[in-house]
Symmetry: C2
Subunit: 415 residues, 2 copies
Amino acid sequence: MINGIKEKQFVTVEGGVCAAQGFKANGLNCGLNKDKGKNDLGLVVSDVMCNAAAVYTTNKVKGAPLLVTKEHLAACGGRTRGFIANSKNANTCNADGVEKAEMMCSLTAKALGVEPDEIVVASTGVIGQVLPIEPIAEHIEELAAGLSPENHGKAANAIMTTDTVMKEIAVEFRLGGKICKMGGMAKGSGMIHPNMATTLNFITTDATVSSGLLQKALSDVVKVTYNCLSVDGDTSTNDCVLLMANGLAGNEEVSAEGEDYQEFKSALYFVMMNMTKMLAKDGEGASKLIECTCVGAPDLDTAITVAKSVIRSPLVKCAFFGEDANWGRILCAIGYAEAEFDIDKVDVDMSSVNGTVAVCRNGAGIEFSEDEAAKILSADEILVDIDLHQGECSAKAWGCDLTYDYVKINGDYRT
Amino acid sequence: MINGIKEKQFVTVEGGVCAAQGFKANGLNCGLNKDKGKNDLGLVVSDVMCNAAAVYTTNKVKGAPLLVTKEHLAACGGRTRGFIANSKNANTCNADGVEKAEMMCSLTAKALGVEPDEIVVASTGVIGQVLPIEPIAEHIEELAAGLSPENHGKAANAIMTTDTVMKEIAVEFRLGGKICKMGGMAKGSGMIHPNMATTLNFITTDATVSSGLLQKALSDVVKVTYNCLSVDGDTSTNDCVLLMANGLAGNEEVSAEGEDYQEFKSALYFVMMNMTKMLAKDGEGASKLIECTCVGAPDLDTAITVAKSVIRSPLVKCAFFGEDANWGRILCAIGYAEAEFDIDKVDVDMSSVNGTVAVCRNGAGIEFSEDEAAKILSADEILVDIDLHQGECSAKAWGCDLTYDYVKINGDYRT
């Protein structure tokens, strides 16, 4: 159990955000991105209105699309038909940002024959450049006309920025005897750091869940998945997770915190945790996924804070890039985590598919084989296991190494 | 005025930590560092006992030398004769750390003919490797025998780790008609981040100042100098600033917060602010010094938090490395600073010896010449000026760009 969520394995299925019944998607290049082979405009729509839940960035600078999305969800009593999203331009810090975001919704609504309030919007890319609406206006009919359950990948491609791989997942689960599906897509590579809803993440399901429980489940799961992810410590202005449930699976509405709610939350955790790992693994310039688990903490927040502190440390990240078992930097990062605990009880292990090595006991170094450690750290996925030995709570955090390529990508992202 | 300190220019003089009367220093290679051309053991001693003040890291992992230093200062009523310091090994997270740190003091005391408690100790380097005491024991007599006011540079060289330049400064000032001097030396290049006393910093003066005011002045100045410095966001386990005042200038003791105390604090700010800039400029792999000034803040802490948030952002740092005027990332970092203010009033300028460019007004981008911006950002020292327009307080923070070399240095620091 983590934050009241039961960790379970689920059967994965094809279809991404269109795995659940009644969802269609499309994506294309409208010209915001000069690379014609890369989509920059995506649309995901449900056949019927969905209950929706959302979590937004905590940055004081909030992208105009987020403001419009919040307003539209409120205007429709927390319900939505779907979303339009673009990459290459964040439509943030521009005087006409809200106006442009509203136009994206109204253009989409017109093409679909629905009301503008029924559509929400997200943008990602460079901050502070005026978003040209013409390319979007010119391609919106084509985008809507091509909506199909098969085109989930085209939409997932459209939200990618410096991402090198598409991030999709879908699972099957049962509520009240009915088969339900849930799928997600995500983008994000840099400007990723806890205390937010991270980057752009869209999750669709055909389960029937009340709005209140949808939001509660999303908030609970975000806390131990996306908010436990750090690529570089920069909290984006446009982060958003949107969860849409259209109810087409036909299960009895989940409106109380019973067994069905637990199962739904477990499925949501599985989907979001896997997308979190995909985001970490594809962090800008990353060559390795780092998963840090903190157990034996007096409370959940301490476990999260310690695991995130290790994941965030540039020195730890560089050491993993160098495949150097520099555990002193890990203990240092644990030591400056803003939480209260006794550092002299802390144990640290490192492991991978190549084995496990114990490097620290009771806050002090122990002898270990450097050769064995080097072999373990040569793997693509490294686990750092911390036991505080002062409680029963645990948490995981995900990140990546810091490489030359991170610097290269971000030295000339805008130009 | 910043934190009650008057910013003033002072005349700089030669001599580093031996500029003040009655201080002698020496440094040599004892073999901890395999590079025989690089000193690894340094000693600075006053002819008479000094009033001392110190600030230590806030990391829960505290280097054994810091524990011993604290104890020795307490045992001598806040007074000390001098310090022994080594690089290459932090003597931290080792079971025998305190024992070894005590041995460093007692070996030094024996060579000088003083009591072990009268000596304090500092170490910097790799965490979690046992410190071999033999090389130190074998060279301590030679080190003590070579003590001289001329050898300040040998001691400053001994504390360097990945530093590429030696960091020394000294100034002259007057208290009650008497000429006083104050000098400092510092080391630090990586694992540098606010909420600490940063790295190793030693300041000596011949001014006569009461212990209480010495500590108060040091704490006030640290808050707006070293604690406003960030190279990589990692707070070291061994950070320490030590300020020693031996009283040989013969001024009447500064024991109340009058004019003399103000002058002393101004001199201390000048010394520490200049060392802070040297540390930022020589940050691991750095190619540029970044100085961020936040004015118009409702209070000092808000000004510090905002300026530090910008300095710390990996994305801002990479943009400066790429000489890219990506002001959206600066506004994003201001936006996630943990302080309360209205983001829609914020103005941002960038400048250097090559000119000034306004990039943001009232929280939104304004048009500017990319060519002019590129020229400004091609300089070695970049100023970022933020005006919150919601108060009278201001603060500065110092950092550097994030480069390929930072990753290279830290990918294989230990091995």
